[in-house]
Amino acid sequence: METFDLIVVGAGIVGLSTAWRARKAGARVLVLDKGATAYEASSRATGLLSLCGASPLEAPLAQEAEKLWDRLDEDLGYPTEWSQKGRLWVAITPAELDELKVTFQTFQRTYDDFELVDAQTCRSIVPPLTPDTLGGLYTRRSGNANPQRTSQAFAWAFQDLGGEIREHTPVLEILAEGGKVKGVRTPQGEVHAASVVVCAGAHAAPLLAPLGLEFPVAPVRFDAFVTTPLPPLFEAALVVHGLAVRQTLRGNIHLNGGPHEWVEAGVANDMPKPVTPLVRNIAKRLIEVFPSLRSAQMLRSWSGILDVTPDQATVVHPFDTPSGLIACSSAGHGFGMAPSLSVALSDLALHGKTDMPVAALTLDRFGKLPKDWRRAWNWQAGNYNT
């Protein structure tokens, strides 16, 4: 029987970064994925680090992530394209400006280095913004990176230390015995470990359910695209007009937005991720924001599925029974959070405790969540979030 110290279920950015940290700490770690490395949400993300300023619960973890991002290229040995060139929220309609003022107030509860800026300042930070720009909210903090490169950098750094990633090996069942986690079952047989960390993104809930564990996440699918490469236009990570936008170092404008469709995941099923004609509407909004992009082209669109928690904040939950089992959901912003989230997960798996600020992020906060929350909130598969 193969035995490891730690089995990580899922080779997305959260699983890979956790595995790398645990391996660095000397543990024998196996990563299993039903598909290839970083083929799901982690390679489909836009690449912004959310400072989670509106969520006092997880902002401390985001701040830790921000620090770790700064040295990630060096730590991993592979480029992530991280650039800390600030974040800008922009309003181009009066309603958006009102919303922005509210956002500013909530952010102020967490951070003191955010400022409301006028249209001219917005356009000096992001010159191609429409003349209709009304104002913005800006911080020099935070930035963006390339999600595909970053996920792969974690994978390579893990493998450089002798870690093993087994692709196309679905975990069909989590095994527990005598109140303790024992390992996992795959089509090739059982693999045992003292700890199992579930970083299975959208699939976490059905994987945990057979153990009688309820993991409240709802998977959602939505669209994204990139344009043909353009000359360098701006460096800040941008949230504007219902879109999240960055320009890649290569020059492509990379964005997501639009209504999100709730979907359903199985234990380890392959989930189709078709794009929808909504990309046409995203394109419309993009040229409303950047009129000069009219003559650029939509080059490639895709959609991704991510896991959303009831309060849209990260979950890090070490179960009491079976002990040794930890589950995580990064609630739609796991790309930016992975550097610190992985420290917490690795610490908890290897030592049962962590200095990372995750104590408030367990499932305990959902004690009052109705059992049929997805139905009650209209978050059931097939519904749009509108």
């Binding site: 090739q188 209504p259 078709p274 046409r280």
Partner: protein, 480 residues
């Protein structure tokens, strides 16, 4: 479905198979729309998909109206469809196709996204027939980006479709039947064919074709490969080398036709999620189809001379009326072609003689070596701490190489042609270098739009009343 006549039938591609089924379906009383991207705007032609026009677009193409007229006259199939009352949309790109399925349930009636110089629309259909023809196989070599280098489909289009061929002395790569066809057409238009290059020792299209070429006075360079297209601003010569001894010679020419092979356009069925299979004979992934051209998706057909002999239109028509998708158990059809081995022999020869420093991906300027070594693009000014291999899996569990990994890390196939020029050579290089069968190399994903589309043309106002919240959802107040 048979009681639902007339069916709304959208045919994509005015290929022979596309025109034939469009005519047949229209005659049977269905409402047929036939879509073809040609004539392309010069902007679209510059993206080199599906045909590789290369860097020299003849000035004659600037006159869009004249071009449109010429193109319509040159395709009797389109003309016949038009006469028969088919709604013919030329100069129109089918950039995507959408239908309800798992994780996407808001499409309603299946639709195709169409875009032309006038704008875009979503067209509903009951039956979708994909007959999008072929694209040029574009191998890499030094000087491949010089004006005067083009693919065989583009060459035939310059000669006969657009009638603006500018070469006077053309060297042809390959001795396939495509190459022979090109030579015949070129000579008929007064072009001098200065030679054909063949890495093997036999004429690929057979002895009769060999004799015909000899009678036309076309020299064939056997056991040879192309080292470089040469010239300062356009092709003035081609340097070829003898594969056995390495002797080099320059061939005086002003144009170079890449006629090694053509591959089926599979991006629409692949991006739609049709089940695919690797066809070693063709040297390409193809959608799985039955004899009537049904794919694994309901009411979606794929017709290609590479797969189902273009399927008899009568059979397709009956299958359309019946509806449904292909059954699960289908014998894999016999390989209809030995092109796969021929493409491989060419890439083997070009790689062996040209080496690793040749640019493989023209859009993103990435060399063969940088591709195979997973090197980050040069603008990142950095390398990998440790060498990495693209081979990620052992034999048995799944694909051993994922071309998407190489795409993401090296950007090969991420540029404006979306890998239409380089993806097949890239897979062959991986196969040759790492000794892995092509069927164990998962090809890079195809994505909509299947051609780059101007944002101004595709931009569409969202439906009134749609709430567009940024990011996910307003947090719910239910937790106290």
């Amino acid at each position: 479905m048979s009681d639902q006549i007339p069916l709304r039938v959208t045919v994509i591609g005015a290929s022979d198979a596309g025109c034939a089924i469009a005519l047949k379906a229209q005659a049977a009383g269905h409402r047929v729309t036939l879509v073809d991207e040609h004539p392309q705007t010069m902007g679209q032609m510059s993206f080199d998909a599906p045909w590789f026009y290369g860097a020299a677009l003849p000035a004659a193409l600037m006159n869009a109206n004249a071009v449109a007229q010429v193109v319509l006259e040159a395709n009797p199939g389109i003309f016949a469809c038009s006469e028969a009352g088919v709604d013919v949309r030329v100069g129109t790109i089918a950039w995507g196709a959408f239908q309800n399925g798992p994780n996407s349930r808001h499409i309603g009636v299946p639709k195709v996204g169409l875009v032309s110089a006038e704008g875009n629309e979503l067209l509903d259909h009951d039956v979708l027939i994909l007959a999008p023809g072929v694209r040029d196989f574009v191998p890499s070599f030094r000087g491949a980006d010089l004006p005067g280098v083009f693919g065989v489909k583009a060459g035939v289009a310059f000669l006969d479709l657009y009638q603006c061929y500018e070469g006077k002395r053309t060297l042809v790569l390959g001795t396939s039947s495509r190459a022979v066809d090109f030579v015949r057409r070129a000579i008929a238009r007064g072009v001098e064919i200065v030679g054909m290059v063949e890495p093997g020792t036999a004429f690929a299209a057979g002895d009769a074709a060999r004799d015909e070429m000899a009678a036309l006075g076309v020299p064939v360079h056997y056991a040879s490969a192309l080292l470089a297209a040469e010239g300062k601003v356009a092709v003035t010569a081609a340097r070829i080398c003898d594969l056995s001894g390495g002797a080099e010679m320059a061939v005086d020419c002003d144009s170079l036709c890449l006629a090694i092979g053509v591959l089926p356009n599979i991006e629409i069925p692949a991006a739609m999620g049709c089940r695919m299979r690797f066809d070693a004979g063709v040297g390409s992934w193809l959608p799985k189809t039955d004899a009537a051209g049904r794919t694994s998706l309901e009411n979606v057909f794929w017709l290609s001379s590479f797969a189902n002999g273009g399927a008899d239109p009568k059979v397709v028509l009956e299958a359309m009326a019946e509806g449904g998708a292909m059954g699960d158990v289908q014998p894999a059809p016999q390989a209809a072609s030995d092109q796969g081995a021929y493409l491989r022999s060419w890439i083997d020869a070009l790689y062996a003689s040209g080496g690793g420093a040749v640019t493989l991906c023209k859009c993103e300027s990435v060399t063969r070596d940088d591709f195979l070594g997973l090197a980050p693009p040069t603008y990142l000014h950095g390398g990998l701490r440790h060498p990495q291999s693209p081979v990620t899996g052992p034999e048995g569990t799944g694909p051993r190489v994922h071309q998407d990994l190489l795409k993401r890390m090296t950007r090969v196939g991420m540029g404006h042609c979306q890998g239409k020029r380089c993806r097949d050579e890239a897979a062959l290089l991986l196969s040759l270098r790492f000794g892995i069968g092509l069927e164990a190399i998962r090809p890079g994903s195809y994505r909509f739009p299947v051609r780059p589309v101007d944002l101004s043309l595709i931009a569409t106002a969202e439906p009134a009343g749609l709430r567009w919240s940024y990011w996910l959802h307003d947090p719910e107040p239910v937790l106290e």
